[in-house]
Amino acid sequence: METFPDTSGYMIAGHVIALITMGLYVLSVYLRNKNLNQDLETLQSLEAEQTKKK
């Protein structure tokens, strides 16, 4: 039977790090998007108030 060197720990670590990095990036885009949408709503209401006052 063919035996291979046991380097499975490195393989698991590599794939886990790759998936976590991509996951964190997706999360960062999601959070930035969410925050910007909140800012947009606030600024739009402020702008509307300013227009009313004028």
Partner: protein, 232 residues
């Protein structure tokens, strides 16, 4: 709130599916390499992420040229998205390479020409964001970004070609390897399936992430414009 196009939702789902298949092909389907063992399986993600990383850097340079010619901010948004997504993917490439190098070369890192140019490329693009943040004026920032991306884009073909031009221990997948290359292997048919599918999968994921990041850039611009309107 911006409504998400249906095509983007479909692309999100396709990206998750192809990532799952690519992981299965790399971890389960592809045969174990006899000399290195399971660690060789990180090669599929290593090449897949390197491919989209380097292509993205070249695309950002092209977007830089397009901005300088047209002065259209959409090219600035495209450029920023390409740099950001590619920097993330190229970071994965470097980390996976280092993990593979530990059992294959008996070291996490060595100042080999390929590893050095890859590290320099990554640092160039990390600096891109730090320098951009220091510029307030959007037009000036976009112009600076375009010139920087154009010059930085040269590092991508250099990184790709360096193992084909100089003596290096880094294996070459396509083309002739240097006599000093350590850890190279011949791909079987199943390995080639996993390899080409990984290239396809990361291309799909890259397009998906680019689309999201370009939309985010559009939203950022809208908020910046509104801030100016409100403060006047």
């Amino acid at each position: 709130m911006q409504s998400k196009p249906i095509a983007l939702t479909i692309l999100d789902i396709v990206s998750i599916i192809v990532l799952g298949i690519a992981t299965y092909l790399a971890v389960v389907f592809a045969p174990t390499e006899a000399v290195m063992g399971d660690v060789q399986r990180v090669f599929y993600f290593h090449i897949g992420t390197a491919w989209v990383g380097l292509v993205g850097f070249v695309l950002s340079a092209a977007a830089g040229i397009a901005y300088l010619v047209t002065k259209d901010m959409k090219w600035d948004r495209f450029e920023v998205a390409a740099v950001e997504v590619s920097t993330m993917f190229f970071f994965i490439t470097i980390v996976l390479g280092s993990i593979w190098a530990r059992p294959a070369w008996n070291t996490w890192w060595t100042w080999d020409p390929r590893l050095t140019t890859a590290a320099v490329t990554e640092l160039i693009y990390i600096a891109y964001f730090m320098l951009r943040q220091g510029i307030e004026d959007p037009d000036k920032r976009a112009r600076f970004g375009a010139v920087y991306a154009l010059l930085g884009g040269l590092s991508a073909p250099i990184t790709f070609m360096v193992i084909r031009l100089f003596r290096t221990i880094h294996p070459v997948v396509i083309g002739n390897a240097s006599a000093e290359a350590q850890g190279g292997f011949d791909m079987t048919a199943d390995m080639r399936t996993a390899f080409f599918f990984a290239l396809f999968a990361f291309t799909v994921i890259f397009i998906d992430m680019m689309w999201h990041r370009i939309r985010l850039g559009g939203l950022q611009e809208k908020v910046e414009q509104l801030k100016l309107n409100v403060s006047m």
